[in-house]
């Protein structure tokens, strides 16, 4: 039953190269990571593997029994490897679409669309990076770890979770040489009040040139505040309900503060990564 993953044939545009593809991938594995999360590993065609951390795919989810997800579901790239033809997603089972994802079995065919959106940047003077994230947000930030190592940057990853054993991707961050700090709700180390001195100590030590975050409004506000106070830039990956994922339908707009103006941007096209100081939640 194995087959070769391919992109759907389309008419080639003149001159221009295509930015994203609808691809028929093959499921390699789809396994629980901990109580709430699952890791989906795909054999994917080369065309879709020219990715940036922070970009995402639109997944055409199978129908779980008795449910009929219709639209594609957006999912951050958790891992990608063009040489091996690997594409990975880390997802939390929350509704019809992700329940459908959970039904995928090895060798199943699976249709994905991507890569989509603008990924994270890593400016030359961002030598010390600090990543602060919670829950599934850690999935979105995970590929930054490899990128940081490749570019020779130092990375501190603050992983927040309800309980210490639910903190995800700790091993992955460490394997790329990041320093990992796990904070959690059980000992209240994950509250903004507890995090603020922790982070400010590192800022004081000159160890933070830029922030990255995802997945928590409280964390965003904390980093906006610290960023403004200490002049530290940063990026956030945002979410919004989507239909097309390509920029056509305007479903996924959010408001951003740019200077003293409020402007609308599409999360799928101008994002999902935006400057931390412009984000509004």
């Amino acid at each position: 039953m194995t087959f070769t993953p391919t992109v759907l044939p389309v008419p080639a545009p003149q001159g221009l190269s295509l930015r994203c593809f609808e691809a028929r991938c093959r499921v390699i594995s789809n396994t629980p990571v901990n109580g709430e999360y699952r890791l989906l590993v795909l054999d994917a065609p080369a065309e879709v593997l020219d990715c940036q951390p922070g970009q995402f795919f639109q997944l055409l989810c199978p129908q779980p029994e008795g449910e009929t997800p219709f639209l594609r579901r957006p999912m951050s790239i958790y891992g990608f490897d063009a040489a091996q033809g690997r594409l990975e997603f880390l997802y939390k089972v929350t509704g019809a679409g992700t329940r459908g994802l959970a039904t995928l079995r090895p060798d199943d065919a699976f249709n994905v669309l991507g890569p989509l959106g603008q990924g994270f940047s890593m400016q030359d003077d961002w030598q010390h990076l600090m990543l602060v994230a919670r829950g599934v947000g850690l999935a979105t930030l995970a590929p930054l770890a490899r990128m940081a190592q490749e570019k020779g940057r130092k990375l501190t990853a603050i992983c927040s979770a309800r309980r210490p054993e639910l903190a995800m991707s700790v091993d992955l961050f460490e394997s790329y040489g990041a320093e990992v700090i796990v904070v959690h709700d059980q000992n209240a180390s994950s509250t903004p009040e507890a995090l603020r001195p922790l982070i400010e100590a590192r800022i004081a030590a000159g160890q933070v040139d830029a922030f990255y975050t995802c997945g928590s409004a409280r964390l965003l506000r904390l980093l906006q505040d610290l960023g403004a106070k200490h002049g530290i830039p940063g990026e956030i990956a945002m979410e919004q309900q989507m239909a097309c994922g390509l920029g056509m339908c305007q479903a996924c707009v959010r408001q951003f503060r740019v200077g003293d103006r409020l402007i609308q941007r599409r999360v799928c096209r101008e994002g999902p990564v935006f400057p931390i100081e412009e984000a509004i939640v």
């Binding site: 008419p11 545009p13 219709f70 639209l71 097309c244 056509m248 479903a251 707009v253 609308q264």
Partner: protein, 315 residues
Amino acid sequence: MRDFITGSTADLSVSLGDLRLKNPIMPASGTFSEDLSDVFDLDVLGAHVLKTIMHDTRAGNPTPRVCDMQSGMLNAIGIPSKGFAYFRDEMLPYWSAYRAPLVVSISAHSLDDFARLCAEVSLPGVAAIEANISCPNIEADGKAFAMRPDTTEQVMTRLRAETDLPLWAKLTPNTGEPVDVARAAQAAGADALVVANTVLGMSIDITTRTPRLGNVMGGMSGPAIKPIALRMTYQCAQACDIPVIGCGGISTLEDVLEFLIAGARAVQVGTATFQSPTTMARLVSELGAWMDTNNIRSVDEIIGTVQAPEAGVFE
């Protein structure tokens, strides 16, 4: 031209009045933009239909703007618009670089605004104007122009006076008198009918007990509305002489053929592009292959060929 997959050289062209399209497949307004050129060469399409524009800049509806339904979706995007000036200065030059004819969808909440915008967009590079008359007419009781024959005739007469370009009327299924509305649009001088827009619907999240759309109600699209759009296409094609362009739930070759057989001369594809952005390119290709296989030389051999049913009748 040889098809990119099948190699078919079938002639897929159709005419909509004076406008000749190289094939009957085009996008539905609001489900298409330059962004789709990331996925395939947009010049394979029969025409390009842009998201409805209004004269002024507008923010659009509150989020959430879409929600997932069984065999379809609801949307209440509204018409966020960068306004006419942006269209003229930025969009028109971009789209003029394509060979496919450009159809500009316009709307307004009053007759005067509608007429002005119609005159404004009648520019070189625009091949046709699609009047989205499914939007509320705030001068009357807030009901969409296309809900009633009289308001349809009023607005289309005003628009007709403002442009020499082919003028299409996009109808709404949210009416009890679709045939009268279609006839009114024809009488007012419309060159074609686009049948139809979304069906008004609603969805509630039972956990929060709130509507799933920021705007409370929204438009249903996708396969769920196909039987409704097909019925209206058939009714309008039977009742009118001007070409009908089918729209609603089209996602497969069978759907395209069903609308053509019912009397549509072309079709618009909307929501299917969200499920699978390669849909329109594939439909062009599949239509050619199907015509080859069935030895059909021209799309005209398909259009409007619906027969009386072979029905078992009871005394």
